[in-house]
Symmetry: D2
Subunit: 402 residues, 4 copies
């Protein structure tokens, strides 16, 4: 369905060529100061044509808040918002409509609904993500203000061009006895310090100028398309989030990320590479932090252990396939099975990964917000009970730990 | 929470040392013939000590159906089931209890609940998966009987030892201009034919004898532990499953897989490797199959496009980290921050990936079953409407397509 | 939360003085022909000032469909819709704002959110029901087209003036040994034949001209207010709807009705009066209908038995309290406890029950639609299983029954 | 489905003749001291044969906790529990099986599932309520310990015999200009003081000895059956519970109550009678309570305004129809339509209302607990935001109010 979340709940609507796309955000805490501009910032970041970020403020995709806010403060009631579509005419018929576009959603939407929007995949349109980005901006504003949560995503690869030091040696180099580091110190430093400002300095949103330049060169072929990966870090998330057993934090996060169009892969912490590292190295030993709080000396876990956040940085990576729309001709078949050749018309973005960055951030914010509210409910309820004195001391959080 | 699914709904309970672990499965279609033995088969496959599969039938972990079935037929009402725990005494206190075990759930459970089971991570226990496996066996029985759905998981890597031909050249070989195949023909042949019988021939459940042998050697170090990956294929799933936009098929599948203990990564179809393949190659062209039905000539998509199944084989891979429990001493800290050394007592399984195989299959079955029921509701409702004759023909599933 | 339903899901937003009120309807079957006018009809019926129904078409509360429909046909994707608010300025401050209005939601909204809309009770505004009515109109259109479902609500009492023959003798007449009929033949005839056209002939929407006239007289006192009851019948609902055990049909229906503003009571079938009737009379014996289908000779059950519909007419009654806004002065207290006198300004509707009629119909349609989709999922799934031949014949629906 | 609640979630299983009935309670706050005996008390109160409450402790329906508790303290993880069925053999076939029992669930279960338990209505069995009562006992224990919540239900009518002063003059006495009190002072006094001990003094659980005696006489006819009403009060519930708009407190409460077998009616506060009382009288004026807290001088609202609790006593009434099982012969039809006569065998309880008392209390506790956790989540989240200083003072809860 088009709803995500249980206590912070986002419901979206809209196709490419209908009147508007929008969302209802239910469960935002009351008393949060919020303006349309707070939301607009991230919406503008997801607009096409971000390559020159010094252009005048983009007037498109303006968000209109419908409800839930008065005098710039949230009421706790549902926040309705919408962004008008510019092109509201249904798509004109052409011969290409005889073809389901390869690796698009045309055919599967027909299998699912028996009908599809004239423009193609309907809700698989990139415009659908506008509602997510808006909702995420609201969640993020709360999280930042109350917990200092920082969420920063960036492009970590385009095609075969990878940000260096994001991963260790190849998993395929099977004769190499040196297992290497799945998580390098440079990478950990990067995720602990990176900001959105730095990310946006590069049109490709890869925070490593040389790699960014190589990425720009690699995506100049307008006839073809290429995929990539986005890495995201969430800092300052309180420990204790994530619901055993089916709604572990990484399960909810993976769910949210894999609901973004064109995603095919998700990993948290050391991810696939970590599977090759023995426990003696992969385990994150505990250390005492300032103030007596326990932390972990390494962070192969990516901030989540047993499905529950442990206050360390949460980092994860998402794989986006190459866009399905390409200008060169493709051999394929029509709906009725007739073989033929299909070529997309018009201009197409050969690489969408940079635009995915604010969408990833938005979904991350929504997941954290929802889990936080659920955990707050439990924690508040438990805190009101009289202390239990009859248990073995190791069953209770000791005074020294927090 | 401990519930998964909307129309096929699984709720589980149980820790390591309580009276029993169990589940309530709600929403099983009525009229399905089902015995305890149908469930027991998969429960036995997840038992420890599977390495010698010729040993007499294991009498442990016997499932007891409580309700929802009469005369061997499901009533459509909730199926309650339980498996008794053998060791029901709370864990004895020892000095090791002063330490949160590194990369275990001891510490995060305390952060979450302020209390934890004496035995450690409570619901993060591997015994929690018994309820999943039982529920999955029920879902699978329905799916097999009605749709011929086949779900087979197998071990595709242990540490750095990978089943050959599962993936293409290294993503790190950045100077190699040849992008290669993320999806090799050998791999596609394997997933289209593999059976559970073949998988179980090897103690490691890797269906490639030479690789399996290398895996066995690699996991003989009882002092350390190692992770691995499981690959799973689901064959004969009808097209049209998966709910845009937040509950795309791969999002639900990823959620389910990442809720299995020790998982850190998930990819579907070409996954992370596919991000390096240009659209001109990665797109799956349509072809006419026997009977006029459309199929795709390649299957980089992994059976899902736009978040909706397209009737092709669904295949995906899950990364499991190395087990946190190791015998060798680890430098870490006590709950109160005191540094010290911790070593696990007793025997521990250095590699749990083979035992994860039936758990992966179970979660896959649960996801397909739930999505199928939701899509059935829509499809039945739509099929009862009078045909629409006023739409452009390309908006409606044409007679030639199915 | 502001969402109702599981497969047919309605989410609403909007207060009195924000930009618009609206809804997202998710799960509408694809292929349904639907126009704004289909929705507008019921929206217009809920407008204030319905007393002279011969006035020119009301131009207010025009619905604007945002998505989910192309060429007048539903796509199966979320239908976004909105109705603009005319008065979008926050309410001006006045001395009356020092008072929480008695039996309004001002005070409880503050207790809940710590903040409230300047206009008062925020989402408790009657305008919130616009989204429900619109969603209900969509559900109803489907139900009517496919199953011939007819939903008709009418005013059965205003204050002490009751439609005759709706109920039997007083429950308080405790010395009367004659228990009487809770369900009179006249009443059953009324609910089996009543139409919306007949209901709308009377400004009070009571389909009994004499009683309607008395009701009109009784509500002329503009200084005070009065409550009433609405009775609703749903005809031609298929048997088998309603989910044991917590989501029995009457439980879902009661939930939906008691979520309408100002409701305080709900009863189905013989209701409270039926509690006084012995089982020998209250039981509905089975009879064979035309075509061999079983029916019940009486219908004290109100079309629901064991929480599941049985194909008979479903009828129920809802009690609405008198509106809290009255012109006469009330002794009460300010937020800070200072005693004082409060009188509402402006014109107020002394009796809102007639306007509640389309809202009741809408919620009824939404409940039936959602339950129908859930039951369709089960029924379709069960129908695909091979027939079971090993059961005692009385455990299976026999060929003669349907 | 068989699950109730969102944060405090109860899932039940079990029919009459299966191995056991049970429940999983998920979301219980960690750190609550809880034993089987705490649960057993209410289970024993729902047992048949309560008429002589001085009999030795009933050894039947013993609850067995499976998980979620160690050393008598809840872990915050799911609490599994079960109660064994004594008669686990499927029902023997007899000629009466040819008949769907009138006003039972036999026929509707067949319509729904196409199959039914041999014993009849399957989950409509009274034994299904065991899981509810157990779950309610857990919720109640928390609520009592932390908030001092008191929940007391009692029988307010059996057939035509009503507890005096529960309601005002007849609504049917339409010529009587005196509208009377729907809520009498005697009634309000009763609900503010009644305890379970007082209720249990009477076998009929009507806390008015004379009326109780009349009820006992009235239910002596073992050949027939009779219904009745249960009234329940919940004291000390914090204000602010209930979720606008679809999950208003009374909507959730009504849902829960109408899910109890044999219920046909629900009303809160002044209920149906209140619809006859003008606003000038029905409105509950505010008064200052000790400590400056606002309260209401009257309580026609029944503790809920705008769908949100206001800290006053919550009281409501539920109507139970007469039991469908009666000994006298009934003219009815077989499944295949053949007319015939059916008479129940064995002993049957002619009036089940006294046994419904603990079930009503349990469902009330579950509803309050779930709403409380949801509201706690919001309240905690809002409390962490910096205070808003830019709003008109009447939009914010003033310091004087609480």
């Amino acid at each position: 369905m088009s709803t995500y979340g249980s206590l912070f709940r986002v419901t979206t609507y809209g196709e490419s060529h209908c009147a508007s796309v929008g969302a209802i955000i239910d469960g935002c805490p009351p008393g949060l100061q919020l303006t349309e501009q707070d939301i607009q910032v991230q919406l503008t970041r997801r607009r096409p044509g971000q390559s020159n970020l010094t252009t005048p403020r983009n007037e498109k995709d303006q968000v209109h808040i419908q409800s839930g806010i008065e005098h710039g403060v949230t009421l706790g009631t549902p926040i309705g918002l919408l962004v008008k579509n510019e092109d509201q005419r249904p798509h004109d018929y052409s011969e290409t409509d005889l073809y389901p576009r390869p690796s698009h959603a045309d055919y599967t939407y027909l299998q699912k609904y028996g009908i599809k929007a004239s423009s193609g995949g309907g809700r698989s349109s990139a415009r659908e993500t506008i509602g997510r980005v808006a909702a995420g901006a609201i969640a993020e504003r709360y999280l930042k203000q109350v917990y200092g949560v920082e969420i920063v995503a960036f492009v970590s690869s385009v095609g075969k061009i990878h940000l260096p030091f994001t991963t260790g040696p190849s998993s395929d180099d099977q004769d190499n006895d040196d297992i290497g580091d799945a998580v390098s110190p440079e990478f950990l430093k990067l995720i602990s310090t990176i900001t959105r400002e730095e990310v946006d300095k590069q049109p490709t949103r890869c925070p490593h100028p040389e790699t960014a330049e190589r990425m720009t060169q690699a995506t100049k072929d307008a006839q073809d398309s290429i995929g990539g990966t986005v890495t995201c870090v969430i800092r300052n998330v309180p420990g204790g989030l994530g619901e055993p057993v089916f709604d572990k934090f990484e399960a909810k996060l993976g769910h949210a990320m894999l609901s973004i169009p064109a995603t095919k892969a998700f990993e948290i912490g050391s991810g696939f590479r970590g599977t090759e590292v023995p426990g003696s190295k992969h385990n994150d030993p505990f250390i005492a932090r300032d103030g007596g709080k326990l932390g972990t000396g390494t962070n192969w876990s990516g901030g989540v252990q047993g499905g529950i956040t442990n206050s360390e940085d949460i980092y994860f990576r998402i794989g986006f396939k190459s866009p399905a729309t390409i200008s060169q001709a493709q051999q394929t078949a029509q709906y009725d099975g007739t073989p033929g050749t299909l070529a997309a018309r018009g201009r197409h973005d050969p690489c969408v990964v940079p635009r995915a960055v604010p969408i990833v951030e938005a979904m991350a914010a929504i997941v954290v917000m929802d889990q936080l509210l659920i955990q707050n409910a439990r924690k508040t309820a438990a805190s009101l009970l009289p202390p239990v004195t009859t248990l073995p001391p190791t069953m209770i959080l000791p005074p020294g730990a927090k």
